[in-house]
């Protein structure tokens, strides 16, 4: 049992900085385009997984909001999916969906389901009862109340869930290469002992997570203007 797989060497032997396994800016500048494709694969994986995950869990949450008996079963199932480590998930799916983007996406989607389901539900449950009473008393139907009052007021919580989902998905997507879906993890894995490589790929992943987090935060500010209104006298 060998501790490390035989890896593809990506360094060139004659560069002294590289041979010493230091942090080599020159090498990074020269080889930066190695990281471009994996980066975009990473972005694609994250965005697609989040989109599908959100669509599924948001719908589930809306249904469970009215039919409370669903909350428990859905939470348990999504909870189990959340607990299964993504690598294990990739290979459990392998016999069924094979290697590639689909497998990785399914595993990533199943991970975000619990986060978003729970946050949407919490957000909706936190809408004060008197506001719902006033809305119904004014003549809003259940559906109008949901879309015009409850969902908007739940947005802060929902967006918070999206942010958490985004950052964790970026992290998990680094392992997606195990499922044959590429991503920045593939680059890390290609030469795991070479400092420059690890740092670049790692930093890119962290930057991506931070960027998505920031973007969603900006979106949250944009759609919830009332949360910033300072109480005036």
């Amino acid at each position: 049992m060998s501790p490390l797989l035989a890896q593809v060497e990506i360094r060139e032997r004659d560069d002294t900085c590289v041979a010493d396994n230091g942090f080599c800016p020159d090498w990074i500048a020269d080889n930066f385009d190695r990281y471009v494709d994996p980066f975009f694969q990473h972005v694609l994986l994250t965005v697609v997984a989040m989109g599908i995950g959100f669509a599924i869990s948001f719908t589930l949450a809306l249904v469970a909001y009215r039919r409370r008996w669903l909350i428990n079963p859905v939470t348990q199932v999504t909870g189990v999916l959340y607990t299964i480590p993504s690598i294990a998930a990739f290979f459990l799916l392998l016999p069924i969906t094979g290697r590639g983007f689909l497998t990785a996406t399914i595993a990533l989607v199943s991970y975000v389901l619990l986060i978003i389901f729970r946050n949407v539900l919490t957000g909706l449950d936190n809408v004060p009862a008197d506001i719902k009473d006033a809305g119904r008393g004014m003549g809003l139907t259940d559906r109008q109340l949901l879309w015009r009052v409850e969902v908007p007021l739940a947005l802060p919580e929902i967006m918070a869930g999206l942010r958490i989902a985004a950052t964790t998905t970026v992290g998990l997507a680094t392992l997606a290469f195990f499922a044959g879906a590429g991503g920045l993890g593939e680059q890390i894995f290609a030469d795991i002992t070479f400092k420059s490589n690890v740092v670049v790929a790692g930093v890119l992943a962290v930057l991506l997570a931070a960027a998505l987090d920031g973007l969603i935060l900006l979106a949250q500010r944009a759609v919830t203007p009332w949360t910033r209104a300072v109480s005036a006298a």
Partner: protein, 253 residues
């Protein structure tokens, strides 16, 4: 229909792999069987437990203290946000590249991974203790340390264990890629598929999944056990099932 039988067959093979030894596809050594899996699982658990123990020893006192004095909110709360953004693979890779392989180095990496949820939750756990309760305790003449020990700690145990639960599952999951750093855990059949074969890889995946779920369940039971009865009656039923009570906004998920 054929694919169904086929993948059932693959799962069947994988289960078989767990129980019976066979020859490695790469030739030479014997692989598989309960004995081997037990060794791998044991190493996996050893690594995880070591990392968790150290992480708890570091973050719980720190979190409790920061929460008690009310300082360091930025650090405590953003620790989780930052921690979430760093992919585990990158962390391991960073350690391998800069610090080297081996059990101790890897444990250190996993400790870093495990700290943020526990720290954030310990901090939040103390902060969410009702001010009136702390006030009453102070009024009764308890010193700071006594307040932490007798009031704030017990009341924040549920949240702390929530954090331990999250970290525990994360660490067990990340220990799967430990072979990249030279520690042979259950991830070995997954990473070194040539040695173990496809059934071996699938078998390891199954065991890892079961191990993670078991960790979650066990820590969940512990969390429930340490929740003071008064709090259990107060909180709703669903709060128990998740790592974090639903209403706490600051706590990590």
């Amino acid at each position: 229909m054929n694919t169904t039988i086929a993948f059932l067959g693959q799962f069947g093979d994988a289960i078989e792999f767990i129980f019976n030894e066979r020859e490695s596809p790469a030739g030479g050594a014997q692989v598989g069987g309960l004995g081997e899996f037990w060794e791998l699982t044991w190493e996996h658990l050893k690594l995880s437990a070591a990392a968790m123990a150290i992480a708890c020893a570091l973050s719980i006192p720190l979190g409790l203290w920061l929460g008690h004095i009310g300082k360091g909110a930025f650090l405590a709360i953003n620790a989780s946000n930052v921690g979430r953004a760093v992919p585990s693979l990158a962390l391991i890779a960073f350690f391998v590249a800069y610090i080297g392989v081996g059990f101790e180095n890897l444990t250190l990496a996993l400790v870093l991974l495990a700290i943020p949820p526990i720290l954030t939750n310990a901090y939040t756990g103390v902060r969410q203790v009702e001010r009136d309760t702390v006030d009453a305790a102070r009024g009764m003449g308890m010193t700071g340390a006594q307040i932490v020990r007798r009031v704030e700690l017990p009341l924040s145990l549920p949240l702390i264990f929530g954090g331990i639960r999250i970290s525990g599952v994360n660490v067990v999951a990340t220990a799967t890629i430990a072979p990249l750093a030279g520690v042979i855990t259950l991830g070995d059949p997954i990473i070194n598929v040539n040695t173990y074969g496809d059934e071996g890889r699938l078998a390891a995946a199954i065991v890892v999944a079961l191990l993670a779920v078991a960790t979650e369940v066990v820590l969940g039971l512990v969390q429930r056990a340490v929740t003071p009865r008064g709090l259990k009656l107060e909180a709703g039923g669903s709060a128990r099932r998740l790592a974090i009570p639903i209403k706490r906004k600051e706590a990590t998920t």
